[in-house]
């Protein structure tokens, strides 16, 4: 039995994983680290913020503001300092492309 699978937009990133470029795999892995708190593919359980499908500019601004100390945080100011601005932009781009 063979079956065709229709790829939905939301699952595109997940399904493209096996033939993704090295850069894409790097970003996917980096983003998966966020999933421990913010949910698999950025869809969080109650009490934590979902990242999936948020506008890229908003996500990036938040993370840069955490990093600079402009935005108060409990621990995101400490975690965001572990990433370069370029990495934060890649993360923002990745999560913004995921389906809410």
């Amino acid at each position: 039995m063979n079956s065709w699978i229709k790829v939905t937009a939301g699952a595109a990133l997940a399904l493209s994983a096996t033939w993704a470029s090295a850069d894409e795999l790097q970003v996917r892995g980096m983003a998966a680290a966020c999933a421990s708190c913010h949910g698999t593919y950025g869809i969080a359980q109650p009490g934590m913020e979902s990242l999936a499908g948020q506008p890229k500019e908003d996500l990036l601004k938040k993370m840069l503001d955490f990093k600079s100390g402009k935005k108060p945080a409990t621990l995101m100011h400490q975690l965001s300092k572990g990433y370069t601005d370029e990495q934060l932009e890649q993360l923002a781009g990745y999560f913004s492309a995921l389906k809410k």
């Binding site: 790829v7 096996t18 680290a33 708190c37 949910g39 698999t40």
Partner: protein, 427 residues
């Protein structure tokens, strides 16, 4: 990139096409894709099993071997000991790994590994062939350092409660049965051990319970280390201010034996300590399976791995992760870290089984919350990246830190952290 995907199914209609992670669900074995066997369904192994399935587009067959019927979380288990949470609160069934991700669950133990033939043998006698094996065997205890604990019934009377489950409940019962005015004494082994701040959180939880129910009682912490190994100033502040007169901390106390009948702890240089409830957290090493199979190459205690893939330095096609590995500098043995290992390993295993090059620049983080009361929490956080020159993970300079003080907001985040990481690992 969007593209249509062609999935070939084999067997008696056992393979169900999946449209990805949203609808979940897929083959429960029987496919002709590569085979991955995961041993141990804790934070490391369960995460690896789920993510190998997801990131292989459900093409790689994954079997998870785990003796327990459900996942019982070590993080938050101190709250059960303190009487704030119940076992039901920290227990999650494994069924979503099968229903949503098509992981084949086998409730058993692995007894031997044949790395040449790539086969593991189970206690039931069955054999499972693999293309790549992922071991997440956790820790086991160095009982040989405590002769008195070898006596019949000793381990039922003097508890560690360092693997959440029956002992968590049993320790709670011992505390409930202890008369007011009694002493609870906990010993802490030399680092490294599972969950560096865990013993100190436990001391807070027991002290919180005593402060409410048995105010004349004492918590005595007997630590083999030179000082509190994690979040030191924050814990000491809690003991001095919240639990004044209840908690006493003594460093440099190396446990040499336990007189179980006399309810007494013996140390190398310090006087023996008699207490009403003994809670001995023994020295730890990699899970017995890893030690027995020769994978624990660092002092015969921890498993050395390549941090790009978590492949064992002692055996090809065998990956080891979680608390059982020889950790990189600054990397704690924590559930959060094991969850991160699981994803890094899963990505590498999928790459290796599909002819790709594993990610050369892994970067991930650790977040650890400790409850100093029923509501107030302190955290420690860190970010770790691969250093190609040193061939290990290093803490990113300038990242990470601890709470400025215990607070209720982080108490809420800690509970949300737990429900999120349980879901990321198991749902």
């Amino acid at each position: 990139m969007l593209r249509r995907q062609f999935v070939k199914t084999v067997g008696a209609g056992s393979v169900i096409a999946s449209s990805g992670w949203l609808s979940g669900c897929a083959t429960t074995g029987g496919g002709n894709g590569p085979k991955v066997v995961v041993v141990g369904g804790g934070f490391g192994g369960a995460t690896a099993a789920k993510y190998v399935r997801m990131w292989s587009d459900y093409k790689i067959n994954v079997t998870l071997v785990e003796p327990n019927a459900s996942f019982v979380s070590c993080p938050m288990s101190n709250l059960v000991i303190g009487g704030v949470k119940t076992m039901a609160d920290i227990t999650t069934p494994y069924d979503n790994l099968t229903k949503r991700h098509g992981v084949t669950m086998v409730r058993d133990m692995v007894t031997t590994i044949d790395a040449e033939k790539r086969v593991v043998k189970l206690a039931s006698g069955a054999e499972l062939p693999y293309d790549r094996l992922i071991l997440s065997p956790g820790v086991d205890f160095m009982w040989e350092t405590l002769p008195g604990m070898a006596q019949a019934g000793a381990k039922d009377k003097v508890l560690h409660a360092w693997k959440a489950g029956a002992q968590t409940v049993a320790l709670r019962k011992q505390l409930e049965a202890m008369p007011d005015g009694g002493v609870y004494a906990m010993t802490i082994p030399l680092a490294p051990y599972r969950c560096p701040p865990g013993p100190y959180e436990r001391a807070c939880q027991v002290a919180h319970y005593f402060s409410q129910a048995k105010p004349k009682s004492k918590v005595l912490i007997l630590d083999a280390n030179d000082d509190v190994t994690s979040k030191g100033p924050l814990f000491k502040k809690a003991w001095a201010e919240r639990y004044k007169g209840i908690v006493e901390y003594r460093s440099k106390h190396t446990l040499t034996d336990v007189d179980v009948a006399g309810s007494t702890l013996k140390f190398d240089f310090n006087d023996p300590v008699k207490a009403d409830v003994l809670n001995v957290i023994p020295g730890m090493r990699a899970g017995d399976l890893a030690v027995k199979t020769g994978l624990a190459t660092a002092n015969k205690r921890w498993c050395e791995v390549d941090f790009l893939t978590f492949e064992s330095k002692a055996a090809k096609n065998v990956h080891v992760l979680g608390d059982s590995i020889q950790i990189a500098p600054g990397m704690p043995k924590s559930g959060h870290m094991a969850n991160q290992h699981g994803k890094t390993c899963a990505a590498a295993v999928v790459a290796l089984l599909t002819g790709k090059v594993p990610n050369a620049n892994p970067i991930y983080n650790n977040t650890c919350y400790s409850f100093v009361s029923a509501e107030d929490v302190v955290h420690v956080a860190s970010v770790h990246r691969y250093d190609a020159e040193k061939k290990t993970m290093v803490t990113v300079p300038g990242s990470g830190g601890v709470s400025s003080s215990a607070n209720e907001l982080e108490g809420r985040f800690a509970l949300a952290w737990a429900s999120n990481i349980w879901a990321d690992t198991l749902a």
